[in-house]
Symmetry: C2
Subunit: 146 residues, 2 copies
């Protein structure tokens, strides 16, 4: 069961400049940064609020580290902007299987590693009215700052 | 001060079909529907979670009712997908003025009427790394179902 907006994934050309834009304009601070080699991105998570299911909602700023990464190819076509949205669930395995059974294409056979040790999968945007949609089960999270 | 992800605005060709996709696939229910003549859209708000600032996060599904509406023109170029993101604040007037003073273009001189009696404004996507960004101060909200 999907219980929160976990994050909005935003593709950018320059992660440091984009982080600085969000800090200077809105006061949003970096909660965590990492490089995900498998996804081919550098990323920064900005925590915006906590949610009623015990989780949090983030902006996830993504800079491709390879032109042939999924985000790199998307940016070559679309430029900077919202790349995907993600819903949080306590059980990404069960939810992704249930959604697959409804005929929506799930892009990974099994969930893979996402931000901050989470487990994630993606749904095909053509089956979701144009929205690349991620499902995520968080690991217990701790900010870089703590 | 922006204290939550208020909603993700998603443009669609057929509001009823898209509402049904979100209900059948994820179990998300319609919290509120309305027509905003000024914005030129029919819309449905799906409440996903409550937030730590006392507000809520929604998906906002938007179907243009005029081809020359902002959403209609955007869809003619981009098709269905994420149209904008919105941050919630207790004081859209003060925050939009502070952001304007930082050199970000604010699209309305004064905030206008948004979903469920809220007051909203938009920031120019070219000043926000490609993301059309809305600021919203909610009115006290009550679901259509209550």
């Amino acid at each position: 069961m999907l219980t929160r907006i976990d994050h909005i994934g935003i593709a950018c050309h320059d992660l440091d400049a984009t982080v600085e834009f969000y800090r200077a304009t809105y006061g949003f601070e970096v909660f965590h940064t990492e490089v995900n080699e498998e996804q081919g991105v550098r990323e920064a998570m900005l925590k915006i609020n906590d949610t009623s299911d015990g989780g949090s909602s983030y902006l996830q700023l993504l800079q491709p580290i390879r032109e042939d990464s999924a985000v790199g190819k998307w940016m070559a076509k679309n430029g900077e902007g919202v790349h995907h949205i993600a819903f949080g669930t306590a059980d990404v395995d069960a939810d992704s299987e249930a959604i697959r059974d409804k005929g929506v294409r799930v892009l990974y056979e099994e969930p893979r590693r996402g931000s901050m040790g989470s487990r994630i999968t993606f749904l095909h945007p053509k089956d979701c009215h144009g929205v690349l949609t991620e499902l995520v089960t968080s690991a217990p999270v701790e900010s870089d700052e703590h």
